[in-house]
Structures are given as C-alpha cells and as structure tokens.
C-alpha cells in the first residue's frame, strides 16, 4: 500500500507539465551531449546547474538525471555510425557496432543499443524503487560517526576514477581536499586560507571549480585540436531500423547479462559506466552463444555494453540518493548541485523529501520512454549534429560557462577563479591527471571533515566512536575491503601456493 502511495506521489510530481518539459529537455540535451564527442555529461550538468537555481529541487534533479541517462543513450550513436565514441562508456560499442554499420546493419545496431539502454534503464529504476526505502529505514541511525565512515567508503571510489595512475588520482583528490579547506571552518568559526579576501570566507564555490575543470578545459582542448581535427566519415543508415526475429533472440540474453553486470559492477560496486561496459563485453566474449562472431559485428557486442552502461548510471544514482556517495564523476557533480539546492542526499532523503525522491523515480520511467522515441525514429536527426563545426560548439560552451558562474553570485572573482581552474584543468589533462577525483575530494572531503569533527565533539575526543557503533564499523570494514580489493588475488595466490607446496615441507626445506 505504502508502495502505491509512493508511486502515485512520484507521478504526481513528475507528470506536471513543467516537470515533463524539464524531463524532455534533460533527455534531449543528454542525447545531444552523448552524440557530440567533445562534450560529456559532467560538462553538460555542470553548465546547467545555474539554470536550476530557483527551481524546486525535484525539477532540478529531473533535469540533471535526464542529461545523465540521456547521454548514455546518445553515446552509442556516434560509436556505431562514426566509429568515434561520444562517451567513454561507449568506447567498446565501436568494435561491433561500427562493423555492423559497415555491413549495412546500422539500423538494427542503433535499435539494439536504444532498446538495450531502455531495458537497463528501467531495471535500474525499479531497483532504486525497491532498494531506496530499505536503506532509508536505517536513516535515523546515521549520526555523524556513521556518516564519516560512509564518506570514507565513498572516498574509495577514487580507485575506479583513477584511470591509469593511482598516484595521479590521489594527487587530484588531495587537490580537491585542499580546495574544500578554504573558508570559515564550521566547528571553530575560524577562517582558513582566505588570505584576508572576504569573498573566500564562504569557501570556493563548487560550481566554479566544476565548470573550470570540465567545461573550460574542454574548450581549451577543442581549440588546441582545431587544426588537426579531420573530416568526419560517417556510415549511412541503410534499410530498416527494426530488429529481425533472429536479432531479438540474440538481444535478450545479452541485454539481461549486460544489465545485471552493469548494475552490480558499475553501480553497486562503484566501478563506473565505462568499466561496466568493458566488463560486459568480456562477459559476452566468454558466455555468449555467438561469442565467436564478437569483434566481427555481432549484435551482442552492442546490446551488452549499452545495457551495462545504462544500468551502471542508474546504479550510481541509487548510491547518490540513498547514501549520498557519488559512484561516478557525473554523480559527484550532481551531489554538489544537490547540496547547492539545500538537499543533503543520504539515508534521510527518502523520509525528509519523499516528493523529491519519488518524483525523480517516476521521471526516470517517463524519461526512458521519451528516450526510446527520441533515439529510434529520430536517429537521423542526431547524426546531423555531428556536422556542427567544433568552433561553434566551443563558443557555446564558453558563453554558458561565464554566464552560469556569474549569475550565481554576481562575482567577478568567481570568473577569474573559474578561468584559473580551466587552465589548471588543461594542464592536468595534458599531464594525464584525471579531474573527477578533484570533485570527489572537494565534495566528500568537506562533509567528511565536518562529520569527523562533529563525531569527535560528541565522543569527547575518542576515536573509538567509529568502531564501537555497529553501522559505522560495518562501513569501515567494507571500505577497507574496497581499498584492498586489487591485492586479494595475490593473497589468494599466496595462500594457494602455501598449501600447494604443503605436505609439511617449507619451500626453503624443499630447496
């Protein structure tokens, strides 16, 4: 009964004309962002945050979530037709998708990607609906120590944002922590790193950093590659869009495998959408009936990864809403945005803001259906977008960046800071240092410090508070397991070796 009430409440929020419009704008822009190779969902959401000022929080999240999962749909289009991934999570789709297009089966490939995304998106939404309230039941037992341990667990996500070098990712995280330090300290009221500048007293705005590091960096990268960018070669869509009977038969198993693996690997385990799509491709290569055709234009190579990246996007939204932990770079940006709207994502959200949470869930059902319509019959339109010259796109991003940051506080200092972060972001990109850990460090670091010190006041300075409270202890254990994850296999190998050599003789004695 409660369940039906929630859903009714949700659709009541999501189906208002304004929110329907926002949902549409969100998935529409999301698809555009997904199709265009130069710009990703992180940039898109960062740029749109200023637009959401003054909107009710539910409307704001409906818009942002629409962009997030919309981009997952759009990313596949360029992979299939141009062999250039629109998003990092669509890289693997190029392999078989583009081969299919070359073989004149672009239509079924696009359809498989869109329907696979739909299946996964719907699955993730249902999981959010079922899982969220369970977590919410624990909500009031989350005091400062539990939140601290939760944030610490969130920090371990950095291992999945790291890319190639863990050291570089940690450097970026520390940079984020340092930025979060600026301003008046909550527990003592003392100014830190403000250098007597009154505008620094409230800290450095998250949006200034986010737009600088993502949007402006994107602009600079585009500009520096303007001359070398070649002409886009595109496969045309021949024949029908619909899947044949044989296609359908091969579609379901791979889509279901992709959805489940994407949801758990990319969402719940926090590995992110890109990793999820690679894992799914690996699974197809091992378990699919048609595994021999993979790499030569098999439909499984499209449905699996495309289902996986959508399920991962939904999964990381669950993390964000139920626990307040961003499972990906994009959700880290969204967390910052929600905080700016005065919402604190976490176990309490389901109880304190039911209209917000259920409105979002309902909008995701609606949005996924909109996306299916947008991406199947209208796919030809998106392809034309690729003909927009990149200097025009760059100008638009530039304009929105400056406008957005200025409208926030009417502060010129913010504009200068944003420009500075744009340059830093460019340098980081050139040095192959990932930018999303900066956001992670900045958003989580600030809360983590606050929670830590609140817990310290409550416990009269005893660190024991983190291990004597069961939820906190549990979270800490999971965090330790998450960090040590890459090393287990060595331990297991070691143990096996030990027993393998067994029979009482030590290796030394055997030698």
């Amino acid at each position: 009964m409660e369940f039906i009430q929630h859903i009714t409440l949700g659709f009541g929020v999501a189906a208002t004309p304004f929110n329907l419009l926002l949902s549409f704008v969100g998935v529409f822009l999301g698809t555009v962002i997904g199709v265009l190779p130069g710009i990703g969902p992180m940039t898109g959401i960062a740029l749109l945050i200023p637009v959401t000022f003054g909107m009710p929080p539910a409307s704001a999240i409906i818009l942002m979530a629409g962009i997030y999962y919309g981009a997952m749909y759009g990313g596949s289009t360029t992979s299939i037709l141009v062999n250039t991934p629109g998003e990092s999570s669509s890289v693997v789709t190029c392999i078989d998708g583009h081969k299919m297009a070359k073989a004149g089966r672009a239509g079924p490939a696009l359809a498989a990607a869109a329907i696979g995304s739909f299946v996964a998106g719907t699955f993730a939404t249902i999981m959010l609906m079922l899982f969220g309230p369970l977590v919410a039941k624990l909500a009031l037992r989350f005091g400062p120590p539990e939140f601290f341990s939760l944030m610490l667990l969130g920090m371990t996500v950095v291992t999945s944002l790291a890319g190639r070098s863990m050291v570089k990712a940690l450097f970026a995280t520390l940079m984020g922590l340092a930025i979060a330090m600026v301003g008046i300290d909550l527990q003592s009221g003392v100014q830190r790193f403000t250098f007597g500048n009154i505008q620094f007293m409230d800290g450095i705005e998250f949006l200034v950093v986010a737009i600088g590091l993502f949007a402006l960096t994107e602009v600079l990268i585009n500009l520096s590659e303007l001359k070398t960018a070649g002409k886009v070669e595109m496969e045309s869509i021949k024949g029908g869009l619909w899947l044949t009977k044989e296609d359908w038969k091969r579609f379901w198993p791979s889509s279901i495998r992709g959805t489940l693996s994407g949801f758990f690997v990319g969402g719940v385990a926090g590995a992110g959408a890109a990793v999820a799509s690679f894992v799914s491709y690996g699974i197809e290569k091992r378990f699919s009936k048609h595994r021999k055709e993979l790499g030569e234009g098999a439909i499984e190579g499209v449905t699996g990864p495309e289902s996986a990246n959508n399920a991962a996007a939904g999964g990381s939204l669950i993390y964000l809403l139920c626990l307040g932990i961003p499972g990906s770079g994009t959700t880290a940006i969204m967390l910052g945005a929600l905080l700016m709207l005065g919402l604190q994502p976490g176990p309490l959200l389901f109880t304190t803001q039911p209209a917000f949470v259920w409105g979002l869930i309902a909008s995701m059902y609606i949005g996924n259906i909109m996306l299916l319509v947008l991406n199947l019959p209208l796919v030809g339109m998106w392809v034309k977008l690729l003909k927009v010259p990149s200097y025009l796109l760059t100008l638009f991003i530039l304009m929105f960046s400056f406008l957005g940051v200025y409208t926030m506080n009417n502060s010129v200092q913010d504009l200068l800071l944003m420009t500075l972060f744009g340059l830093i972001g460019y340098g980081m990109k050139r040095a192959d240092i990932p930018a999303s850990p900066v956001i992670l460090g900045m958003v989580l670091g600030k809360m983590m410090e606050e929670r830590f010190r609140q817990a310290m006041v409550i416990s009269d300075g005893s660190l024991g508070i983190f291990v004597t409270r069961p939820i906190s202890l549990g979270l800490l254990v999971i965090a330790v397991l998450a960090i040590t994850n890459p090393y287990w296999k060595y331990v297991i190998q070691g143990v096996k070796k030990l027993f393998g050599n067994g029979g009482g003789a030590t290796p030394a004695a055997a030698a």
């Binding site: 003054g54 009031l140 400062p144 909550l186 527990q187 009221g189 506080n409 502060s411 409550i458 009269d460």
Partner: protein, 326 residues
C-alpha cells in the same frame, strides 16, 4: 517684439529653474537599490524582497527599485559595498544579529554603528528542542542537568560556534549561573542537519530558529522546552513556554531591520521614517508577514538605534566570556 520674446524666454527659464530647484530635495527621485548581503533564498534575501514588493505594490516608492545580492563572508561583502556608497541616499541594506556578532569577532572590518538605522521590521525567536522521549521535560530540568555535568550534555545548532544558535543558549545558561564557556556545542551546516542528529539520539538538545523547528514540533517528534520571546507566541507555537515565564529574565531576538548608508541625508532619513511607518500598517505587509510566519517587530530609526546599542553590549559581554570577541 524682440523684447517680448526675450521676456517670455526669461520667464520660462526662470520658472524652469525654480521648478527644478523645488524638485531637487523631493526624495525619492531616483531608482533605489536594496542590498541583500546573502544569496537568493537566504533570510536576508527574503526580507529584502518582501520590502521591495510591499513598497512597490502599495505605491510607496514610485521610482524603480531592485534587490541586489552581494554574497559572501557572512555579510562582509554586502557591508563593504554599502560603505563604498557612503552618503548615497539610494542604497539601503537589510541585516540581522550577525551584523553585530561579526563586528565583535572582527569578521567585518567596518563598524556597523556608522550605518543609518531606518527601522527594525520583523523578528524571529530561538527554541530549544529535545526529543519527544527525552528525560528533560522543562527548561529547569535541562539546566539542572547541564549544571551538574556540562560535558555530558551536548547541544547542536545549524551554524558555527559563536553565531546565533550557539549564543542564544549561552545567554540563557549564563543567566542561570552556568559558565557558557563550559557548554559543549556541535556545529552543523543547517538547522535540518542538527535536527536529524537530535532525532538520532546523538545530542541532547538543539537550539534553532522557530521556522526550522515548526514542522518537527507539529509532527510531535520533538518537544520545545522554551522559546526566547518575551511573551508566548500566538498560533501554532502558542504552547511553547517562554524562558521568562520559567524564571529567567532572558529574551533572544533574531531581528531583521533595514539600514541606510553611512551619512544618509536628513531629508532621505525623514522620508524613510515616515514611509516605513506607513508600510508596516499596509495590508500587503501584513499579508506577507503571515505568509512567512514572521512576527512584526517594528521600531522606528531612533528606537532601533537604541535597541542596537543594547544588543551590542549584551553580545559583547557574552562573546568576551566565550572568547569570540577580538
């Protein structure tokens, strides 16, 4: 003929000059800016916008008017801006107790006493909340427990130590003979967060504004032990006993008022005194107050100035005691 034209022109000119000379002191003749030292959506922004809407709707200020947000430094950016405009009769700013608090702790480098107080407009009060199943049923219970072991009773609020949530209870504790420096305060970044910490049983009580507390009080999850108003409120919060009726002569107001620039001219000051007095009696203003559940606390410029002097002394004493005065 030439002569008559000349006379005519001279007359017209003379009339024009006289007319414009007469018009010059007629305040207001230019657009007005109301500075809100916080971002859109904050408390200062709300009062600035209400002021703007009422003056416009009741046709009290006939020139164009706008609210501008000068965000940052707990109001420091707005104050710096207003001081730059010294002597400008078309700049006003809204403030509340942090104006005094941040002057005493030297967050502000200017002295607020140089501003021209135009009127105190509204006020809000602090409430002290415990969980519904708390062993403390009255303020006296709570204070007795604090007296016995100040370390054991932790209280939370939605802002840094040394700001309103913290100071309000310190003032009460001090009156009850407890050294406020011994109290243990946990700072959260918002009344809502402080409240959930209370509900989770992590702190003993919470000090917060009535606006943030209302929902939980009505839901029955928390119990308000005392409110810092001089007499009980009417309406939804009428059942909360005041600190005063529980035997301590303490009130704590979260007032909001409007100020002119330092050195505002006499005609402008007089015009505002008259206009604001009229404004607080208009139906629009009254409707706005009910809508936002604000209590009317109108005091004219002179009374407001005296009130501010007393507030300053009271805060100064409390903050020296706590070590926040610099």
């Amino acid at each position: 003929m030439n002569k008559s034209v000349f006379v005519l022109v001279a007359l017209v000119l003379a009339f024009g000059i006289v007319a414009s000379a007469a018009a010059a002191p007629a305040y207001p003749s230019k657009p007005l800016e109301i500075v809100a030292p916080s971002g859109a959506g904050g408390g200062w922004d709300a009062i600035a916008r209400t002021l703007n809407v009422t003056l416009e709707k009741e046709k009290l200020y006939t020139q164009p008017m706008s609210v501008i947000n000068k965000v940052g430094g707990g109001g420091a950016v707005g104050l710096a801006y207003i001081f730059q405009k010294t002597g400008d009769d078309y700049e006003t700013v809204v403030y509340s107790p942090p104006l005094i608090i941040n002057t005493i702790n030297k967050t502000f480098s200017q002295n607020f006493k140089e501003l021209t107080p135009l009127a105190k407009l509204i006020t809000d009060y602090q409430v002290f909340l415990v969980k519904a199943d708390s062993p403390y049923k009255t303020l006296a219970d709570l204070l007795a427990a604090v007296k016995k072991d100040p370390q054991a009773i932790k209280f939370a609020g939605g802002s840094s130590p040394g700001s309103m949530d913290h100071l309000a209870f310190c003032k009460v504790a001090k009156a009850a003979g407890i050294d406020p420096a011994k109290l243990v305060y946990v700072a959260f970044s918002g009344g809502g967060e402080a409240m959930t910490t209370l509900l989770g049983g992590n702190v003993s009580f919470v000090s917060t504004g009535t606006g943030e507390a209302k929902g939980q009080i009505q839901a029955g999850t928390v119990c308000a032990l005392a409110i810092t108003s001089a007499v009980r409120l009417t309406g939804d919060l009428k059942d909360i006993p005041t600190v005063k009726e529980q035997g301590l002569d303490v009130t704590y107001e979260v007032w909001r008022g409007v100020f002119g620039t330092p050195g505002m001219s006499k005609p402008a000051k007089d015009w505002w005194a008259k206009t604001l007095k009229t404004m607080v009696g208009t139906p629009t203003w009254k409707e706005m107050l009910t809508k936002q559940s604000w209590a009317d606390a109108y005091a004219n410029g002179d009374d407001f100035a005296k009130f501010l002097d007393n507030e300053y002394k009271s805060y100064q004493e409390l903050m020296v005691n706590l070590g926040f005065a610099k």
